[in-house]
Amino acid sequence: MQKGETKQRKRSAFILLGISLFVLFVLNISLGSVYIPFQAVVKWMFGFQISNEIWENILMKSRLPQAVTALLAGAGLAAGGLQMQTLFRNPLAGPSILGISSGAGLGVAIVVLLFGAIQGISLAGLGWFGSLTITAAAFLGAIWVLFMVLFLARKLKNNAMLLIVGIMVGYASSAIVGLLQFLSTKEDIQSFVVWGLGSFNNLTWDRHTIFIPMVVIGLVGSLFLIKPLNVLLLGENYAANLGLNIKRSRLSILVITGLLTATITAFCGPVAFLGLAVPHLSKGIFKTADHSVLIPAVMLFGGALALLCHLIARMPGFDGTLPINAVTSLIGAPIVVSVILKRRSLTQ
């Protein structure tokens, strides 16, 4: 009886999430600094020609790719965060816990700041080429850290040690970044800081040809990890006794989360908070520890929340777009605190 009730509850939560996701996606496309009538947007979405070429350009080349970016980035970071929280059995873990975002930051810092210092070129002034270089650097930095973590994961038996190593990599990267900043020009530091604030509006369709497949691979891969993640809830010893190959599972989880984090951080900058918070919010709503529910749930929730944050960042009235990091943290932190307080009062 009660089981039927919870099943019903989960189903309605999924439906609600799906609807919110859709509505937020449509809102992201409809709203912006240029006013486009809703009718025209709907017409365009159903594939009809609309008379205004400027509108069509804005929808196709700006709003749609941005909405897709937000959706995928949110889903990917949330899925990565959930996996890290389960793997490390630590509620404070997020996709950046492995030091991958720091690695990306280091990559960007080296390219942006070092180039500036040695060659005297400011990448910020190089436009399109400059920003692609930044993406590449971020990706290389992230992948480098990921490989290091994977290498260590094979050597270290203990997950807690891996966690500490990840955090240390983060500190070391920040230190090098700090050093580079100290040696750099104002303009270069500015462009590094801007990258660090995160943004969903840097992706053209060209870049989406890389971004979409990579993130989709990561998301689909996450679905394949449902069983090992569920077993890992009990801890590594129990998981091993239940027939799980711990090393292989851990490696798969790290590779998938690493791929998601590296890709998203490279293209959008280090987006804070989503990966840590969405799993908690989803667990609060769905009241389950079962990953066959949680993995799809965090993807939907992450996508929806990222779209909401992006919408707020581009609210009419702001000059341009607010840094996405500021929005995610400002919106999200109070939500998480309230969820935790509510849960506490329920259990006590």
Binding site: L242, K283, A289
Partner: protein, 342 residues
């Protein structure tokens, strides 16, 4: 599950330890767990019980010799295969928010489920049956973080049951439980091993409980070879006495309990019969007297009046008391007075 009757878990000159650099903790271990046997591994803290348990369940590699599950040597089989041979209940505390008893127990079906871990109807039935068997009927949808330690431990036993392994190994399953929960879980395990013909091995340092309930006992202490046998034989051969010998503590072969030694005991006569005088004797022993039947200077009389207990010194009545507590208190004072006097 293969026919468990023909299977046994056994070791062949097994040596256990944490690494190959240091000498092994224990070596030349030759033991066997048969189907339907309930075995307690006993030993003081630091004896190496956990190391042996971990080696037998496959978490640690044998330093030497080998462990066999029926026809299979432990090192030669994959994790997936081993998961169908032996299930464990460990000392790791499982605290997961929003995980129900059903979901926890269902994880025991992992070795049998498909790629996404989806439960078939057969699995669901087995899980419900196991939950009932450990006495948690009606708890299926309860979240494990809202249950007592004893209930959670039963759920872990149910998880081991649905894993359908011929052997279940438990590391100190009753360690952090209160006495009633401890007795309950031990009786549950014993019943399951006999009824379901599983070979169950558990480690404990609760000797008195093990003596009463185990089919066989393995004794392990640092620097000694493992002793094994049925409890009564081990008592009669003085093995218990040797294993638990420490200064000030002695295993009493008559009662099967530990006695706590005081250096010199003042002899005291108990007069009276029945339950009350038995417990008075125990209380007196506990506080350091030696209750005897022959006549001595100090005497305690147990009668059926409202003030049951009276103290006599050299035939002289010193006081009457309603409770043993009051008796002991007064006796302490009187004895000190007399001692000072002498």
């Amino acid at each position: 599950m293969e026919n468990p009757d023909t299977l046994s878990l056994r070791t062949d000159n097994l040596a256990v330890g944490y690494d190959k650099i240091n000498p092994p903790l224990h070596q030349d271990i030759n033991v066997k767990v048969k189907a339907g046997e309930f075995i307690c591994l006993l030993g003081p803290n630091g004896a190496g019980k956990s190391t042996l348990i971990k080696t037998l369940s496959g978490f640690l590699k044998p330093i030497n010799g080998s462990v066999w599950y029926g026809e299979d040597k432990i090192e030669d089989i994959s994790e997936a295969h081993r998961a169908k041979k032996v299930s464990v209940v460990l000392t790791d505390r499982v605290e997961i928010q929003n995980l129900t008893v059903f979901e926890l127990v269902a994880l025991g079906r992992t070795p049998y489920t498909g790629f996404f871990g989806k439960l078939q109807k057969e699995d669901v039935d087995k899980v419900h049956k196991a939950i009932e068997e450990v006495g948690l009927a009606g708890y299926a949808n309860k979240s494990i973080d809202k249950m007592s330690d004893g209930e959670r431990q039963k759920a872990m036993v149910a998880k081991a049951l649905v894993q359908e392994t011929p052997f279940i190994i438990l590391d100190e399953p009753a360690a952090f439980l209160d006495l009633p929960a401890k007795i309950e879980i031990m009786q549950l395990l014993r019943r399951l091993s006999h009824e379901k013909k599983r070979g169950i091995l558990l480690s404990t340092h609760d000797l008195e409980m093990a003596l009463q309930i185990a089919d066989k006992i393995w004794l392990l202490a640092q620097g000694r070879t493992l002793q094994k046998g049925i409890p009564e034989d081990l008592v009669l051969s003085n093995d218990f006495k040797c294993f638990f010998e420490r200064e000030g503590i002695e295993f009493d072969n008559v009662t099967g309990t530990f006695l706590y030694h005081r250096v010199e005991r003042q002899q005291i006569t108990i007069k009276g019969t029945g339950l009350a005088s038995t417990w008075v004797s125990r209380a007196l022993y506990r506080v350091g007297f030696e209750p005897v039947l022959k006549e001595c200077d100090w005497q305690i009389q147990v009668s059926n009046t409202s003030k049951k207990y009276s103290i006599h010194f050299k035939e002289e009545l010193l006081g009457e008391y309603a409770s043993i507590e009051a008796l002991l208190e007064e006796l302490g004072k009187q004895e000190a007075l007399v001692k000072n006097f002498q």
